[in-house]
């Protein structure tokens, strides 16, 4: 508990230091306006994220109360002694179970641990609970989990039911194609091809739009099933979240990301709308995580190999 107390003090101190940055910066971090500058600096190999529409993606964060450990929800978690986080175990390099160690690993997992450290003073005081894609919102609303850190895209539809932290990653939709396939653009990669996407995903909606000229569209339960089908020669191209597309490419050296990022979006941490104290604390952690190099270190460890050495296109 002593250890915990000292962490609390650190958090408080930091909270004071960055108070000003918070008031102004949090809003800025949440909007898409910060992004365009990085496009020019992105290396050719790295995917280029075009500027998002300034409105309509609902990724803007309403400024929350200043972070403290005295809020109702934070107190509840501290009394419980563990932070319950809803994660995925199948997103390679994001949240996945390493069969060798039996441990959950990845970018999202490291971020979750950083939050546990801030709330409870110990990155180990955390309970990971797997939630399915369709159950994410339900799990937050009925309190099964405190937070969902699971490559979750911030959008208006979801914002009606739950709250989001500030964005922590910029993503979109990317195509996964065999290395030999011609796919300079998403349109070229899909023309006349057998496409694959996960059900109830933005990719499915996109592929159903007319104009891509796909010869067929296969809808599967999980985006990773598309990679199985692609390896078995049953589909030619997969459209999925750029984060997950990179995860696919990381698992199979014979496929690559193709075309440009379409439908840019931002990822955030999902939580209950009334847990404003927790939201404030999480946003504080996100700021610290960026500032102290934690974000970059996690990017380098998990994502650089498959998404490019420069993290610039993905900064929130």
């Amino acid at each position: 508990m002593v250890k915990g107390e000292s962490t609390v003090r650190t958090v408080r101190t930091r909270a004071l230091v960055v108070a000003a940055a918070l008031a102004a910066g949090l809003v800025g971090a949440g909007t898409s306006h910060g992004v365009p500058g990085v496009v020019a600096t992105a290396p050719a190999a790295a995917p280029q994220v075009p500027a998002a529409e300034p409105t309509g993606d609902c990724s803007e964060q309403t400024p929350a109360a200043s972070p403290s450990l005295n809020g109702r929800k934070v107190q509840e978690i501290r009394a419980r002694g563990t932070l319950v986080v809803g994660v995925d175990q199948n997103s390679y390099n994001w949240g996945f179970r390493n069969p060798q160690s039996g441990q959950l690993e990845g970018f999202d997992i490291e971020l979750s641990r950083a939050i546990a450290k801030a709330v409870l003073g110990d990155p180990g005081k955390i309970t990971f609970r797997t939630v399915t894609t369709p159950k994410r919102i339900e799990a937050i609303r009925n309190g099964t989990v405190d937070l969902v850190v699971r490559t979750m895209t911030i959008n208006c539809e979801r914002r009606k039911d739950i709250a989001f932290s500030a964005p922590y990653f910029s993503s979109g939709q990317r195509l996964v194609v065999p290395k030999s396939a011609k796919a300079a653009t998403a349109a070229e990669g899909l023309q006349g091809k057998r496409a694959c996407a996960a059900q109830q995903s933005s990719s499915e909606t996109e592929l159903k739009k007319p104009g891509y000229g796909t010869s067929s569209v296969t809808i599967v339960e999980n985006q990773l099933d598309c990679l199985v089908l692609m390896q078995l020669g049953k589909v030619d191209a997969t459209l999925t979240d750029s984060t997950l597309a990179a995860a696919q490419a990381a698992q199979d050296p014979t496929v690559r990301l193709g075309g440009e990022t379409i439908i840019p979006a931002k990822m955030g941490i999902g939580l209950k709308q009334e847990d404003t104290d927790l939201a404030a604390l999480v946003n504080q952690v996100l700021l610290d995580y960026r500032a102290n190099g934690g974000w970059q270190a996690a990017y380098d460890r998990w994502l650089a190999a498959s998404m490019g050495t420069s993290s610039a296109p993905y900064l929130p």
Binding site: D88, Q89, N90, S91, Y92, F96, R97, N98, P99, Q100, G102, L104, T127, F128, R129, T130, V131, T132, T133, P134, K135, E221, N222, L224, D225, L227, V228, Q231, A247, Q251, D252
Partner: protein, 430 residues
């Protein structure tokens, strides 16, 4: 009647000759019909024991081996590096059994039959399935979640295509067994009718002779009557006992065995769903629905307190089952709640704890242990029911073949008796 016979034949020797022909034809017809009808049944009974029941059981075993392979592959996948060699061996044994039985079924069914079609379909798919499982393992060993996706895809092939094909093979083989059973257990009424007719004619002839000649006994005809009477008794007694034996083999062996096979499959499918729920690592909730579906079919609807009501296939399997099988089934029914409880516990815990509860390599308080204990009891019950079938149906065909031959011999004896008996009377007119 006498008048008409007289008109038809005129003189007394002619009448005697006519009577001789009619009687000889009747007893020989009785003999031939009995031999034919009974040997048809003997052949069907023989087919039941040597072909159709083994093929039907083989088909059920193919189905079970495939389902077991899928369950075991998923367990081994979950345990990855910790998987005990026994699990791998079980998976390989399942595939070998399925391949061997498929080859046997292919050799023993003719090429045009429906069963052959499903055998061919399964032969085609089996290596593909094995390939998918190996891909799953190879990817998983590299730490890639793609392995799980392969395992789920393999299981989808098995549950969605291969098992339904195997089910159709089971149904085709069961239909054949039912056909043989209905032929074998059909009572030979025609042969019996002719036996009674021949017996009646013999008695009538002797009554007429008695009136005309005042000789009380005609030894030849008497011997013929005795032979036919013996034939009729043997026929009714022999076939009745065969029908009863076959009925016993069917209703206490083959029929409950079918329900039991269904229970074993439902247990395996519940287990597969439970494993795949963990393989999917929270990526899907369709396996939870599968668990609900199969475990409900197996053990009955879930009541509000987590117990089960209505019994399901597990209870239905006990109906008409032999005592040994019933005892094993009761044991199985007692084991199910432990499995169900552990399953619920796993559902409520986090992944690592759930993994321990479901497949824990060393634990005894696991779903794996509960399922294995239950499956063992179901296996015991199946062996008991198979034994009843074999005990009851065994030798039925031999008894019937003896009867067919015996009836033929008796008919020839009767015909000889008729010839001797009426020959004596005819001689008196020379």
């Amino acid at each position: 009647m006498q008048q008409r016979l007289r008109q038809l034949t005129g003189t007394a020797p002619a009448r005697l000759r006519a009577a001789g022909v009619v009687l000889t034809v009747l007893v020989l017809l009785f003999g031939a019909l009995t031999a034919w009808q009974v040997s048809t049944r003997a052949q069907a009974a023989d087919r039941m024991v040597t072909t159709s029941q083994p093929l039907s059981q083989d088909a059920a075993e193919i189905y079970r081996s495939l389902a077991d392979a899928d369950t075991t592959a998923a367990s081994a996948f979950l345990l990855a590096g910790d998987a005990p060699p026994a699990l791998r061996e079980r998976y390989e044994r399942d595939l070998a059994t399925a391949a061997e039985l498929l080859a046997r079924a292919a050799a023993r069914t003719d090429a045009s039959s429906e069963a052959q079609r499903w055998v061919a379909a399964l032969n085609r798919q089996l290596p593909q399935y094995a390939g998918l499982v190996e891909s799953a393992r190879a990817n998983d060993r590299q730490g890639l979640p793609l392995g799980g996706a392969y395992q789920r895809y393999a299981s989808k092939q098995m549950q969605g295509t291969m098992l339904p094909d195997a089910q159709k093979l089971v149904e085709a083989e069961n239909r054949r067994l039912d056909q043989d059973y209905s032929v074998a257990a059909d009572f030979p009424w025609t042969a019996l009718g002719f036996g009674l007719l021949a017996l009646g004619a013999l008695v009538w002839c002797q009554v007429l002779l008695l009136r005309r000649t005042n000789r009380v006994f005609n030894p030849g005809l008497l011997a013929a009557s005795a032979a036919v009477l013996a034939g009729v008794f043997w026929l009714s007694g022999g076939t009745l006992s065969a029908v009863l034996d076959l009925e016993d083999a069917h209703s206490h062996g083959a029929a409950p065995l079918r329900v039991l096979n269904k229970a074993r499959i439902e247990a395996l499918q519940s287990r597969t769903a439970e494993n795949l729920d963990l393989v999917s690592r929270g990526g899907s909730d369709s396996y939870d629905k599968d668990w609900q579906k199969y475990s409900t079919a197996l053990a009955g609807d879930q009541s509000s307190d987590g117990g089960r009501v209505n019994g399901g296939t597990l209870a239905a399997a006990g109906w008409n089952a032999p005592k040994d099988a019933q005892a094993a089934l009761e044991q199985a029914a007692k084991l199910f709640p432990a499995w169900s409880t552990r399953h619920r516990k796993a559902e409520e815990s986090d992944y690592t704890a759930a993994l321990q509860t479901v497949v824990g390599p060393n634990g005894t308080e696991t779903s794996e242990a509960a399922f294995n204990a239950l499956d063992e009891q179901l296996g015991k019950a199946a062996a008991a029911e198979l034994a009843v079938f074999e005990r009851s149906a065994h030798g039925v065909d031999g008894g019937l073949t003896g009867l067919a031959v015996g009836a033929g011999v008796l008919a020839l004896l009767a015909a000889a008796g008729v010839a001797v008996g009426l020959g004596r009377r005819l001689a008196e007119y020379r």
